[in-house]
């Protein structure tokens, strides 16, 4: 390639990759905060462990690939992958699970394909999916110290439903809950192995949607009628608020024009449409309400933060819409008819598969051309 002597343009907007990545990370903060508020420190421990392993893995791979470490490490892409991965993995997961997942994400899913910008699949979701396939048991429980909320609320000593003293004592942000989370993440630190076994069973809690799917309508109704909340009202509220927090973060990204509206809107509209279509209140129950699909699971973070990863997503406008629809359909169908509990990771990876094809076929009509395909083809090589 011959380099032209002129170097126009000389002016630049000041955009750069690390500020983009940091903005996305910033937009995740409300969601992380709300998650911590309700589910305790597990998510923060996840993030810390994933971050450390992500940065170390990135630095080592860059060293092996003989690249400049400082500029690429500071572009924030490894940080963002680690954040998204840590949020996806259940809180209370042991450290080695996180380490395996994030190292796989950074080394295999990202750098073996050529590093930033070259990976066809979302690294964080690759790591998550790999863990889900390899360690299904560890990946399906949502270990949160919400026992601390649930238990005493249900068996309040005097039978008075008073939230105030219960919160006071059993706040997930309390020191005790923090210790529990730490023990879960670093089981080797437990002085007494039985201490661990006790609360692992007790703390397993799935998302409301998963509970819904597992339980079925009749069980749910029976539980409601008997005065028990099968999937604790508090947990449901927490999921709502977490999703709303991620929605807010996503709206911030839209407002800052870091992401375009096409992918999130397409995903949310598709999930909403499908869940409304198949929802039958009197029917056989496994489908769940549209509201539950949007706010009772990881739909918002998936739609705004994971599917919008530009490297692995479709890049043209109409391509993004189709990409969102494909992911939306995949999310819904894997959730409802598939055998996996939540479906964002597989749905996004499936969307990644389709992205190059979408980019090829969904090109915009070029200015001054009557159709989408350019007509002035160069004569083929003889």
């Amino acid at each position: 390639m011959i380099r032209s002597a002129t170097g126009a343009p000389f002016q630049h907007s000041g955009n750069n990759i690390s500020s983009l990545m940091l903005s996305v990370a910033f937009a995740l903060l409300p969601g992380i905060f709300v998650s911590t508020w309700f589910f305790g420190f597990g998510i923060l421990i996840n993030i810390a462990v994933a971050l450390v392993f992500a940065l170390v893995a990135e630095a080592l791979v860059l060293l092996l690939r003989r690249k400049d470490i400082a500029p690429q490490l500071s572009d924030g892409s490894a940080l963002l992958s680690a954040l998204l991965f840590a949020i996806a993995v259940p809180p209370g997961s042991p450290w080695w699970l996180l380490a395996i997942g994030i190292v796989f994400a950074i080394v295999v899913a990202k750098h073996l394909y050529g590093g930033l910008g070259q990976n066809p699949f979302n690294p964080a979701m690759c790591g998550y999916a790999m863990l889900l396939l390899a360690y299904p048991l560890e990946m399906t429980g949502w270990h949160v110290p919400s026992e601390a909320i649930l238990g005493p609320l249900a068996v309040d000593g005097l039978g008075v439903p008073s939230a105030e003293p219960a919160r006071e004592i059993l706040n997930p942000l309390s020191l005790g809950a923090f210790k529990q989370s730490l023990l879960l993440a670093f089981p080797f630190a437990a002085s007494n192995p039985s201490e661990l076994g006790e609360f692992i069973d007790g703390l397993a809690l799935a998302t409301p949607l998963i509970e819904f799917k597992m339980a079925g309508q009749s069980a749910l109704l029976a539980a409601r009628e008997s005065g028990n909340s099968l999937f604790a009202r508090d947990s449901e509220t927490a999921w709502e608020l977490v999703n709303i927090a991620y929605l807010l973060g996503g709206l911030y990204l839209l407002f800052k024009r870091i992401i375009s509206w096409h992918i999130p809107v397409a995903i949310i509209a598709t999930v909403l449409g499908l869940s409304a279509l198949f929802y039958s209140p009197g029917g056989a129950a496994v489908y769940g309400t549209p509201y539950l699909h949007l706010f009772g699971s990881a739909t918002m973070i998936g739609a705004f933060f994971i599917a919008t990863d530009p490297v692995s997503a479709a890049t043209t406008r109409s391509g993004k819409i189709y990409y969102g629809i494909i992911i939306g359909v995949a999310i819904y169908s894997i959730r409802v008819w598939g055998s996996y509990l939540d479906s964002i990771a597989f749905a996004v990876l499936f969307g990644n598969f389709c992205a190059p094809l979408l980019d090829h076929y969904c090109r915009p009509r070029i200015f001054g051309h009557p159709t989408r395909t350019t007509t002035n083809r160069e004569p083929a090589e003889p």
Binding site: G7, A8, I17, S19, Q118, I366
Partner: protein
């Protein structure tokens, strides 16, 4: 017109909110306010001028003055042939009085070429001018389109916006198609450049009159002046000029368009104003539209009404390295050093000098370059003002570039194909429709020099196509040679056969004549007699030759 539109017009003073939106574009900071702080100033006469001749070939020049000759201001110095089919030429005039000193190649601040043949004129400072013959208004009203066109040519006017296409030729090219609409482009969307805005602010009447003259020259039915909504003073001046109509009767419309880069790009401007997308491989004239720059309109006014040839232009001098950035009416051939000096150049601060705006400009190798008819802006960038791009990072396919591309291309995909050098895929993705506006570069978070990559790919595609044409040409030549050799051979064979045939011909003729003779009294006896005689002759000859052989033995 809707109520909302009227309301907006009343509130904002224009209705650019309701003009059609074109795709893409960016809103970079414009940095025009500094150079617009003062009025347009005349420069003092520099001691020496290197008047660019818009060519590098001496053959295309026909000199009208000799080296060493004294010339006066406005005097025609040379005719430069454009090398087109019609044999069109453009004159060059003396910007001031003085003595012609040399004709040589010199660096020129032109967008297309960095060097041109220049005539060196040593100014005497007396500025003695040939008397101009201004036309009376009534006479101008009577001028035909062709006459206006001739005067525009005789004044040596080029497109002043930057492309530098000879205005008379452009008008001529429209005549074949029948121009419906003439657009006067006052958008000037690129950062830093404020020459057109300054010009309109101060001489709106002349611009409008020039626009009307251009309309008459190309006999367009409709005349539109398009200007960005950010140029309030210029809009007001144009409004006033249109209302007063002192110079020429005109039915010119003023359309205010939303400020955005590149709103002033010809095709984008046409789409914004009319909704017509000029087809990719065609010129706007094919759609019955002609676009001229407002500087061109002003120069046309001066040429036709005042009889003044194009010897100066308005050039913006700006940048942080200048103490007093401003717009100058610059004599063609003034050196950039001289102009920067007039604006108080802080030499220590100068990091680079750029011709044109910050997005499509060209870095000038030397400040000795001289101003030519297309030099619209000169930036003396201070330290850190237009910094070199930081190291390129990987493309993360964020698609910002596709969002801002006015041609609706996908620069991120094009870049991938540029790297593989797949020319078919590049053309399929519209590389040749790239207008090189630089919006993608501006927005790219990875600082990838996209436009440079596209320019290089265009060059290499060009190169490859030329290679292909060249090899096709030589292949044809070779095949023709083979064919010719083969044909020569056949021909020589045929001609030899012919020759043999023709040598036999007399005999045959004789035979046929004899036959014809004998036709009267042909007899078998005569024939047998002749045959017998022939046989006897042959035998006698054989006998003689054998006896010869015996003798030799």
């Amino acid at each position: 017109m809707s109520v909302y539109r009227q309301l907006a017009t009343r509130l904002l003073g224009h209705d650019s909110l309701f003009v059609r939106r074109t795709f893409g574009g960016i809103h970079p900071p414009a940095f025009k306010q500094h150079s617009l702080r003062s009025r347009i100033m005349d420069t003092p006469i520099p001691a020496q001028l290197h008047i660019p001749l818009n060519t590098t070939q001496r053959e295309s020049l026909s000199m009208l003055v000799a080296i060493g000759e004294r010339v006066r201001k406005y005097q025609k110095l040379a005719e430069v042939s454009l090398g087109d089919d019609h044999g069109t030429s453009l004159p060059v005039h003396a910007p001031t009085s003085g003595v012609m000193r040399a004709l040589a190649l010199a660096p020129v601040a032109d967008h297309e070429s960095s060097e041109q043949l220049c005539l060196t004129l040593e100014a005497d400072g007396r500025d003695e001018a040939i008397a101009l013959r201004p036309e009376a208004n009534a006479a101008i009203e009577r001028l035909s389109g062709a006459e206006i066109q001739v005067r525009i040519r005789d004044a040596g006017i080029l497109g002043m916006g930057g492309a530098g296409f000879p205005t008379a030729v452009k008008i001529e090219s429209g005549n074949g198609f029948g121009v419906e609409l003439l657009i006067i482009n006052c958008a000037e969307c690129e950062p830093y450049i404020s020459a057109d805005e300054a010009l309109i602010r101060e001489r709106a009447e002349h611009v409008v009159a020039g626009a009307e003259l251009l309309r008459r020259a190309c006999s367009a039915r409709r005349l539109v002046i398009a200007i960005e909504d950010s140029k309030n003073d210029a809009i007001a001046a144009l409004r006033q000029a249109l209302e007063s109509e002192t110079v020429l009767e005109t039915r010119c419309e003023l359309i205010v368009i939303p400020a955005k880069y590149p709103a002033g790009s010809e095709r984008q401007l046409i789409e914004c104003l009319t909704g017509v997308e000029v087809p990719s491989a065609e010129y706007p004239t094919g759609s019955g539209i002609l676009v001229q720059n407002c500087g061109t309109a002003h120069a046309s006014y001066e040429a036709v009404v005042l009889g003044r040839p194009c010897i100066s232009r308005i050039t913006t001098l700006c940048g942080e390295a200048l103490l007093t950035p401003k717009n100058f009416e610059v004599l063609l051939g003034s050196s950039i050093d001289f102009l920067f000096g007039l604006c108080g150049l802080k030499q220590a601060d100068l990091s680079r000098s750029v011709l044109g705006g910050s997005l499509m400009g060209r870095e000038l190798a030397s400040t000795e370059s001289v101003v030519c008819k297309t030099t619209n802006c000169l930036i003396a960038a201070g330290r850190g003002e237009l910094p070199a791009a930081p190291a390129e990072q990987a493309c993360i396919r964020c698609g910002f570039c596709a969002d801002v591309c006015p041609a609706r291309l996908l620069p991120q995909q094009l870049l991938a194909h540029c790297k593989t050098g797949d020319s078919i895929e590049l053309i399929e993705h519209g590389l040749l429709d790239c207008i090189e506006c630089g919006a993608c570069d501006y927005i790219c978070p990875s600082h990838i020099p996209l436009v440079s990559a596209f320019k290089d790919s265009k060059l290499s595609i060009d190169e490859r196509q030329r290679d292909r044409q060249r090899s096709k040409y030589w292949q044809n030549r070779f095949q023709f040679r083979q064919y010719r050799i083969k044909k020569d051979k056949e021909q020589s064979l045929a001609s030899r056969a012919e020759a043999r045939k023709s040598s036999l011909e007399p005999i045959e003729q004789a035979a046929s004549e004899a036959a014809a003779d004998g036709a009267g009294g042909f007899s078998k006896e005569q024939a047998s007699r002749e045959i017998a005689a022939a046989v006897a002759r042959v035998k006698a000859r054989r006998g003689a030759s054998s006896s010869d052989k015996d003798e030799s033995k």
